[in-house]
């Protein structure tokens, strides 16, 4: 059935969404983390009364302000795209997606806009304690905004707390708390904000390292490094814990994504974890999309332990998920496709019965959409019904594998670097270690790469789904002209790149000026 879709339209729409989301995500993690770093610095200033800490606070607040201004409103383009390019999806998800986004919008507007103004304009105009409270509330407000977006995204990865209404063709929220507190949502929120805090810590440490390389602002840079490195170490450890929990959740709810992340084709008990590996297309790639390892270094039993807390546990591979594995209770993708087609046929029959005024038939079909057993056996696989070839349901294994391993590898590099920075700064030896300072400086772009790689794993790894197992990308996209998507893609890319260059110039100028520059 999927050959009926305009692949050019789908690919351009996906490309445009990826471009705007990745552009938006350049700025968000720094905002999420640096606001807390600034709040901690201001708290130290208020506690000690040392004016140096005020200088430190005001400088990083200024950098936050520039970053915030660069990123502000870029996320709105994503909402435009929902209405234009992804209208079927927007209708299908109904209030489940709309409610968190609305809460986010209101919260962002009232909390952030009010307290940011006090943060920037309120020095010497409001009491020091009220100013500090505003700084903390700005940080909390920014992070609460992120919560709602991440809850909406988590629902797409693991749709819970809803029922599908065949009459309106919409999903309706039946349990708000299940949506908000699903394991997927909690892990996604904690893992994403922790990784954002690491990026902010690396940014502060890297810029401070630049001052030390130049032999400038020594006391300022050391103070910044101490706060940022401790903050970064704490949240690096938290990122490891939440990442571990997230991987377990993915193994349970999105086993195909998990298998792709590890390039695991043949499921096995005592599955090893690949630490480093290189992939190459196998001889039967065209039919099975199989990739073989050119080389790999692996740790025995670790993947089974990570996924199921049991070194002997069976971890299904791509082959098991496609062809099924009755011994492990895994049904084949062909079977899921057949069940999905049954669910689509029932929806079609329901529409026909309504149009014909056949109340008895429409009521009997409606009853199926309210029957938990039928929902579990058939509607759960609704999205599979749009496919004929099971291999179309395999995400890009190289992209998932490399993005995942890049993110994890860089995560450990950040933790090690932050520990070294903290130790050397604490011992007063940081200035003498030029290679550490240069490493810190050149790690800034790596933090952004790791952050983007995390989203690539999350979003590319779940393909072809927009909503896991229910809605594939090809049915989510609006039936609009692909050329109009191409125009907006390039319009956005050109205009926002130009604005980004102008804004980055302001940021670099302020960093060069240092803490004594204007505001």
């Amino acid at each position: 059935m999927n050959e009926l879709f305009d692949l050019s339209l789908i690919n351009w729409s996906r490309g445009q969404f990826a471009l705007t989301a990745m552009f938006h995500w350049i700025f968000v993690p720094l905002t999420l983390g640096i606001t807390f770093i600034v709040a901690i610095m201001e708290s130290i200033y208020l506690k000690t009364g040392n004016p140096e800490w005020k200088k430190v606070t005001k400088f990083w607040m200024k950098i936050f302000g520039i970053n915030f201004a660069i990123g502000v409103a870029t996320g709105i383009i994503l909402e435009f795209e929902f209405g234009t390019n992804w209208s079927h999806y927007s209708w299908f998800v109904g209030d489940i997606f709309g409610a968190p986004l609305a809460i986010e919008g209101i919260m962002a507007f009232f909390m952030e806009s009010t307290f940011i103004a006090v943060m920037f304009f309120g020095w010497n105009k409001v009491s020091p304690k009220f100013h500090l409270a505003s700084t903390w509330l700005t940080a909390i407000g920014a992070n609460l905004s992120a919560l709602w977006i991440l809850v909406a995204n988590a629902w797409m990865q693991n749709p819970v707390g809803m029922r599908f209404n065949p009459e309106s063709a919409r999903n309706e929220m039946v349990n708000f708390w299940e949506v908000l507190f699903s394991n997927t949502a909690i892990n996604k929120f904690l893992h994403t904000i922790s990784s954002a805090y690491i990026l902010a810590a690396i940014f502060v440490v890297g810029v401070s390292a630049w001052y030390l390389i130049k032999g400038r602002e020594v006391s300022f840079a050391k103070k910044s490094m101490i706060v940022a490195s401790i903050f970064g170490i704490i949240f690096s450890l938290n990122t490891v814990l939440t990442g571990d929990e997230s991987a377990r959740e993915v193994a349970r709810t999105q086993p195909m994504k998990f298998a792709a992340m590890e390039a695991l084709y043949d499921g096995t008990a005592n599955a090893p974890l690949v630490v480093i590996g290189g992939l190459t297309k196998s001889d039967d790639y065209d039919t099975h999309k199989r990739q073989d390892f050119l080389f790999k270094i692996e740790v025995p039993n670790l993947l089974s332990t990570m996924a199921f807390l049991d070194p002997n546990a069976f971890v299904p591979g791509i082959k098991d998920l496609i062809h099924g594995n009755p011994e492990q209770g895994i049904i084949s993708t062909d079977e899921k496709i057949q069940r999905g087609k049954v669910a689509i046929a029932e929806l079609s029959a329901y529409k026909s019965a309504k149009e014909a005024g056949d109340q008895v038939k429409s009521d009997s079909i409606l009853a199926k959409f309210n029957d938990p057993i039928w929902l579990k056996d058939y509607f759960k696989y609704f999205g599979y019904g749009y496919y004929d070839n099971p291999h179309d349901l395999i995400p890009s294994v190289p992209i998932s594998f490399y993005s995942f391993h890049l993110m994890v590898g860089l995560g450990f590099h950040f933790l090690a670097l932050l520990i070294v920075i903290f130790w050397l700064t604490w011992k007063g030896r940081i200035q003498n270690n030029k290679w550490v300072l240069y490493t810190a400086l050149f790690t800034i772009p790596l933090a952004y790469i790791a952050s983007q790689a995390g989203w690539i794993v999350a979003e590319m790894g779940r393909q072809p789904w927009v909503i896991q197992d229910l809605m594939p990308t090809l049915t989510a996209v609006s039936q609009i002209d692909a050329s109009s998507v191409q125009i907006t893609f390039w319009l956005f890319a050109i205009t926002f790149s130009a604005l980004l260059i102008a804004e980055l110039k302001i940021m670099f100028t302020q960093i060069k000026k240092g803490p004594e520059g204007g505001h």
Binding site: I66, Y386, S478, L491, F492, H519
Partner: protein, 70 residues
């Protein structure tokens, strides 16, 4: 009440007036918002479903049709 409103207004006014690089940032933000709302939203990002159907029922029918016979 009027006194508080005046104080809040002056707070923002003085804050904006004392900005240096912040003024440039505000100009860029306004350009960005103009491009987004006056060009992109108005001419390129129209609501697809609203163009195809007027009422909620018509929108439901349209999406349902797309889901069962894409």
């Amino acid at each position: 009440m009027k006194k508080y409103a005046t104080r809040i207004f002056n707070f923002y006014k003085e804050g904006f007036q004392s900005m240096t690089y912040g003024k440039t940032l505000w100009i860029i933000i306004l350009i960005k918002l103009f491009i987004m709302f006056a060009i992109l939203k108005l001419f390129f990002f129209q609501d697809d479903l609203s163009n195809r159907a007027q009422t909620e029922q018509e929108k439901s029918d349209y999406v349902l049709e797309q889901l069962i016979s894409p």
